[in-house]
């Protein structure tokens, strides 16, 4: 029997559960090596060579090379790991959040200053159907 997931109907959200963690394990283990300066330097010197040191899927490696932040999440990455790659590139959490939610930095910052993304209309996937 599959694990019942009562959070599957939340829109625009990946819940990093055991299934995602299993899927993203090597991607996340790669990301955490960028926490320390030695890892960041080695990665910057030869990105794809560095990635070949990890048994990640080709799609995961490509998502890293492309800095496709949402694709990394889809492939089991967790934001606290992928943000280490962000930090390696000098990208803050807020800048990542803007990119992942499809806003410009200015739009996102303005949205947060105006009180953030509202909960109304953002609770259920059904509320997003037909939305651009």
């Amino acid at each position: 029997m599959a694990t019942k997931k009562d959070y599957d109907d939340i829109p625009g959200t990946y819940v990093f559960d055991a299934d995602m963690s299993r899927k993203g394990y090597h991607l996340n283990m790669f990301c955490i090596t960028l926490r320390l300066a030695t890892g960041r330097e080695a990665f910057k010197a030869d990105e794809s060579g560095y990635l070949d040191g990890f048994p990640m899927t080709p799609a995961q490696k490509q998502a890293v090379l492309d800095r496709d932040w949402n694709e990394m999440l889809r492939l089991g990455g967790n934001i606290y790991y992928t943000s280490k790659l962000g930090a390696c590139d000098g990208i803050t959490f807020q800048a990542l959040a803007a990119m992942m939610s499809g806003s410009t930095q200015e739009e996102y910052r303005a949205m947060m200053l105006a009180g953030g993304r509202p909960i109304e209309g953002n609770r259920y996937k059904s509320e997003w159907e037909g939305k651009e």
Binding site: I10, T13, Y25, Y81, A87, A98, M100, M112, L113, G115
Partner: protein, 281 residues
């Protein structure tokens, strides 16, 4: 005997630490955040705890995906601030109270809470930002710190109920320790925020304020909030708030709210803060 006199709930937004470390707390963006901490800093000076029992989560810093303990108690003599990718924060080394920490470990494990014991652990912004919020920028932290690291990154986090009851066990442990110590417990993280994917930036002030109200007046009800409600209403990272129940469980059911602060935004997050005191016996 050691005693828990008060609890502090506080967000641990990394950008709050960065704002302090780079000296920009007077800027219009940050001023309202830090204005709300003025009273907290006076309060902690006045209250002057010997030990802070600090409940926080690691953000894939000390713990990689290799090992994910649900509850990990810091029993080391000291804890180094970690490099999270931007270099370590320029804050003092965190000193532990080893004898009390090992007493707590022994007591709560026999009380059927199976903690992981950490004799070496770096600490990230989850632990250092709350200390900065409360103590500003001292040369040395004025208190000893016992860290309790809770997994809230890989779903499921422990339930609110479990956290609340662990708080009670921690209180029993502290109050059976034979040294005259004033202990304040911090529950950190939250409030509403989502850092990832298309719903990033979610903030729910109505829900947050109800949560703060319940912290003061109905902690048992708060401890029963199901995980899906945090995820849906407070955002995927809002589930950090389960850690506040450990703090709340360690206090009397009837407490005095001495301070509250709520502000949106700090980076991606709603900042929530509350100070609760046990009534004098």
């Amino acid at each position: 005997m050691a005693r828990i006199t008060a609890g502090v709930g506080v967000s641990h937004v990394p950008a709050i630490g960065v704002a302090m470390d780079t000296g920009i707390t007077d800027q219009p963006y940050w001023k309202p955040v830090f204005d709300g901490f003025k009273k907290s800093r006076e309060w902690i000076k006045e209250n002057n705890p010997d030990v802070v029992f600090l409940v926080y989560n690691d953000h894939c810093t000390a713990f990689s995906a290799e090992m994910i303990p649900t509850f990990a108690l810091g029993c080391a003599a000291e804890f180094q601030p970690a490099d999270e990718g931007w270099g370590p924060r320029p804050v003092p080394v965190v000193k532990g109270h080893q004898k009390l920490a090992s007493h707590i470990a022994q007591s709560v494990i026999l009380d059927e809470f199976d903690l992981t014991i950490m004799n070496k652990m770096e600490v990230d912004h989850g632990l250092t930002v709350p200390l900065s919020v409360m103590y500003d920028q001292p040369e040395e932290w004025p208190c000893l710190v016992i860290p309790l690291c809770v997994n809230v990154v890989q779903y499921p986090a422990p339930t609110g109920n479990r956290c609340y009851n662990l708080g009670k066990a921690i209180r029993r442990a502290i109050e059976s320790y034979d040294e005259d110590l004033n202990v304040v417990i911090f529950g950190t993280g939250g409030m509403s925020h989502q850092l990832q994917f298309e719903r990033a930036g979610l903030i729910n002030p109505k829900w947050d304020k109800e949560f703060l109200d319940m912290m003061t007046s109905d902690p048992v009800k708060a401890s029963q909030i199901p995980h899906v409600e945090y995820l849906r209403e407070a955002g995927s990272e809002g589930i950090e708030l389960v850690m506040w129940h450990v703090m709340r469980g360690a206090l009397d059911e009837d407490v005095v709210e001495v301070h509250r602060h709520y502000h949106v935004p700090a980076s991606n997050t709603a900042v929530g803060h509350i100070i609760l005191e046990n009534r004098p016996k």
